[in-house]
Amino acid sequence: MKFDTPAGTNPIDQMKVVGKPVDRIDGKLKTTGTAPYAYERHDVVKNAAYGYIVGSAIAKGRINSMNVVDAKSAPGVLAVITALDGPKLGKGNSNTANLFGGPDVEHYHQAIALVVAETFEQARAAAHLIRVDYTRTDGKYDLAVQAKSAPLKGDGSDEGSGAPPVHRVGDFEAAFAAAPVQIDQTYTTPDETHAMMEPHATIARWDGDKLTLWTSNQMIDWSRRDVAKILGIPKDNVRLVSPYIGGGFGGKLFVRADAALAAVGAKAVGRPVKVTLQRALIMNNTTHRPATIQRVRIGTDRSGKITAIAHESTSGNLPNGDLETAVSQTRLLYAGANRLVSMRLALLDLPEGNAMRAPGEAPGMMALEVAMDEAAEKLGMDPIEFRVRNDTQEDPEKPGRRFSHRNLTECLRRGADMFGWDKRMAKPGQRRDGRWLVGMGMAAGFRNNIVTKSAARVSIDAKGVVTVRTDMTDIGTGSYTIIAQTAAEVMGVPLEQVVVLLGDSDFPVAAGSGGQWGANNSTAGVYAACMKLRAAIVQKLGYDQARAEFTNGTVRAGNRSVSLGEAVGQAGLTVEDGIEYGDLDKQYQQSTFAGHFVEAGVDAATGEVRLRRMLAVCSAGRILNPKSARSQVIGAMTMGAGAALMEEAVVDKRFGFFVNHDLASYEVPVHADIPHQDVIFLDETDDKSSPMKAKGVGELGICGVGAAIANAIYNATGVRVREYPITLDKYLDRLPQVV
C-alpha cells in the first residue's frame, strides 16, 4: 500500500480496539518468566556448548602473540578461537570497528578470542588462562583535546536525525551581534551506555550451510544482512530469531560480537553454541552514546523574539564512525530568521560511538533547552512564554513548509496548568522545604517522526483466528499489543482472536525498532496487509467491496453476512503487504512535541538532587495504546533523569577505556530516584504520517527532560551547571554555605 496522500477516514478511526489502554498481550509470559529470551532457548536448541569472549586489554595497538595452550587443555574446552588464528571476518555495514579484532586492536575490550566449552563455568575459567602479548600504541582519548582540531562533518544518523556540516539561513553573525539580548554558552554531555538489562546474547546453530541465530536484536533485516556480510555467506542462508528482547535502546540495532562469534564457535565445534557478553565487557565492547561539546548562541529582540540562533556540536568517534547529531532539533524547534548549525567530528580511539535512545536530540535538547532557560531569564520572561513566543507552524529554514501537526504551545500551556507552574518562583533559590532547596523547571520536548516501509503477512483460519507475522521486534515498546490491536480493529475481531508472531527473519521485513519509528510504521504495515486480506475475503465471497463491513468476527454487505472463519474455510487465507511512503514527509515536517515539567529538591548541605515530581505532556499523533505509550514516555523520562543526574561512562584518558564498566560504578536510576510520573497525551491525529495517523513516542520522553531537570536545579539553587551529569561535586562550592 502506498501512502502518498493524507489519510481519510479508515477502519482505524473506529477506535474500538486501537486507542484503548489494553493490557499487553505478552504480559502473562513476561510476568511469569515464560517469555523466552535469546540465551534461554532450551526449547529449540539442545546440547548447546558455551562460548565465552575475551576482550582486549589495550585500547590501541597490536597483538604480538596469544598463548592458548593452557586454555585448550583446560577441562571441558572444545575450541579456542583467537583473533590471530581464527577466521578473518568481514565487517557489517552498521559496524564501525570489527567485531573480532586482531592482530590490530581498535578499542578496549574488542573481542580477541572465543573459548567454547561444555559448560559456562569451564568456558569462563579457560578464557582466563589465555595470555596475550601486546604492543600498545598511542591513542587519542580526550575529546576536549581533539575537539580543537576536529574537522567539520555532516551526517544523517541511521536513526533519522541529521544535518550537513554547516548549515546557514540568513546572516547569523550579524543578527547575533545586533541582538540586544544574547546568550552564548557551552554545554557538555558525557559518553553514556545503554545498560539494557539483558546482555547481548546469541545461540547459533548450523544446519549444513544454513545458520540460525537466536539472538537479541532490534533490527532483524539489517542484522541478517550484516551477519551474512561478516561471515561471508549468502543472506538467504541466515535466519535471525528474536521474539523477546531484554531492552536495546539502540545498543542492539546492530549485530555484535556475541552473534558473530557464536556462529564461528558453532562452526568450529560442530554443534550449537551460546554466547552472552559478560556485563563488565559490554560498555567497552559494544557501542555507546558519544560525548558532546555544544555551543549554543541565542540572540533575541527586547520582546523575546529570537533573531539569531546557532548550535554547534563536536563529538568523537573511531575512524569511519558517525557523529552525534546534537544540533538537528535546533533547525526545527524555534522560529528565527538567522540561523547556523554546524558539527565537528574528532577522531578518538575509544570504543565505537553509535545510536542510543534518541541519538542527536537527547543530548542536543539537554543543551538547547537550558540555553532557552538562560535566555528567558536574561529577558526577564517566563520560560514558557519565551518558548510560545518563538513557536512556529512552519519549518524555520523553509518558509511555507508546514509541520504536519504541531501543538507545542498546548503541551506547554496544559503542562503549566497541570503542574502548578504559577507557583514557581521566577527568582531562583527562594523555596525551602526543611533541608531541601526546591525548584521547578521545564523544557520543550522534540523528536522527529520518521516514516519507513514496513511489511507483514496476515492469515485467517477456519476458526476466524487472525495471525500476523512480521519481523518487527518488541523491545519493550509494546509492538505485540499494538499490532494485535491494529489487526483486531481492521479485521473486526476481538483482540483475543489475534495472534502476533514477531522477530523472525522468515517473516516479511518490517520497520524494526529504532528512532521511535517502530509503532507507527509497523502498525501501518499491518494495516496495509489487513486491508488486503479484507479485499481478498470480500472478493472470495463475491461481496461488494465498497459496502463490505468487518465487525464482530463477521463480514457483511447489505443483507449478506458470514463469519470470517466460514468465509475463508478450511484452507484459510494468507496475504502479504506493507506500507510504503510517498513524499508527505518532504511536503510536511513531521515531528513530535512535548512539554516536560520537573520539580527537584537539592539537599542544601550535600547538594544531592532528588526528583519530586515529573510530568510530560505529549503531542504525538494518535496514541495507539495509552497504557503502553505511557510506559514508553515514563521510561524515557527515567533514562533522561539518569543522563541529567548520574550517568557518565568515565574515560581513562591515559589508557583509553571506560573505567566504570559495570552496573555498580555506572549508575543508572533506581526506584528511589524516580517519583510518580504523570504523562498526558493530547487528543489528536496526524493524517500525514500514515493510515494509523500515529507518530512515534518512544523517544520523545527523553528529549528535553534532562534540560527540565537542569532548569529545576537552577531554579532551586541559583547555580547553573552546564556539564552533565549534574553531580554534586560540580556545584557544591557554589551552594549557599551551611552553618
Binding site: R24, K28, T34, Y134, E198, G476, A672
Partner: protein, 213 residues
C-alpha cells in the same frame, strides 16, 4: 593541603605514554610471557539437594555453579534472569526460605535443604499470582527482562514490611515498619529497570498491598 599531581603516572602510565610492549593477562597473578606451565586444576563437583517451587531436586554440579545458573542451565527454569552476574542489578532475584536474594552471588551447592521459589513458582500464565496480575494491569514492565526479579522482590518486600524490617527511609526505627510509596521505592531499589517502569511498578505493588503510592 597536598594533592597528587594530576599528571603523575603510574609505571603503567609511563608505558602507556609511548609505544611499548605490555603483557596483559586475564590471570592477575601470572606473567603473560610465561611458557605454558601450570597444571590446570580439574573440575570439582558436589551434590546438592534442594526444593524448587515445591519440587525436590537433586543435582551434581561443578562447585562453581551459581544458584542462578543451576536454575537456568541445569533445571531450565529460565524465568530467573542473568542481567549482570555481579549482584548489581537484581534480575536474578529469587526467594530462598522466605527471603529474597541475588541468585547470581550464591553457589548452588550452598543451598542444601533450602526451599527456593522462582517467578515460575509464584504463578503461571493460567494462574497468575496477584503480584503478576498487578504488574500486567499497571504495565509494570516493558522489555520484561527485569520483571521476574522485580516480582519476586515485590512479593518478598511486602513480607519484609509485615515482619517489621526497617528500611533506609523509615523515619523511626522504633516504630513498626510502614507501607508507603517511599518505602517501596527504597526497598525495591535493588532491582534495576532500565526501561524505566518504576512509576508503574510501585503502583502495581501498592495495588496488591492495598495502599497508595
Amino acid at each position: 593541603m597536598a594533592t597528587f599531581p594530576e599528571l603523575e603516572l603510574s609505571r603503567r602510565g609511563i608505558l602507556a605514554s609511548g609505544a611499548a610492549t605490555v603483557a596483559v593477562s586475564g590471570l592477575p597473578q601470572d606473567d603473560a610471557q610465561a611458557a605454558p606451565s601450570q597444571t590446570v586444576k580439574p573440575v570439582s563437583t558436589a551434590r546438592v539437594s534442594f526444593t524448587v517451587n515445591g519440587t525436590p531436586q537433586k543435582l551434581e554440579l561443578d562447585t562453581r555453579t551459581t544458584l542462578l545458573d543451576a536454575l537456568r542451565e541445569h533445571l531450565q527454569l529460565t524465568g530467573t534472569k542473568k542481567g549482570c552476574d555481579q549482584g548489581q542489578c537484581g534480575a536474578c532475584t529469587v526467594i530462598v526460605d522466605g527471603r529474597r536474594i541475588n541468585s547470581c552471588l550464591s553457589l548452588a551447592v550452598m543451598h542444601e535443604g533450602d526451599s527456593i521459589t522462582t517467578v515460575e513458582g509464584l504463578g503461571t500464565p493460567d494462574k497468575l499470582h496477584p503480584m503478576q496480575a498487578a504488574f500486567i494491569r499497571h504495565d509494570g514492565y516493558q522489555c520484561g527482562y527485569c520483571t521476574p526479579g522485580q516480582i519476586c522482590s515485590a512479593v518478598a518486600v511486602l513480607d519484609e514490611i509485615k515482619a517489621n524490617i526497617p528500611s533506609h527511609v523509615s523515619a523511626d526505627l522504633n516504630t513498626p515498619a510502614r507501607l508507603s510509596g517511599d518505602e517501596l521505592r527504597e526497598r525495591m531499589s535493588g532491582n534495576i529497570c532500565r526501561c524505566g517502569a518504576y512509576s508503574n511498578i510501585i503502583e502495581a505493588i501498592s495495588d496488591v498491598a492495598g495502599g497508595a503510592a
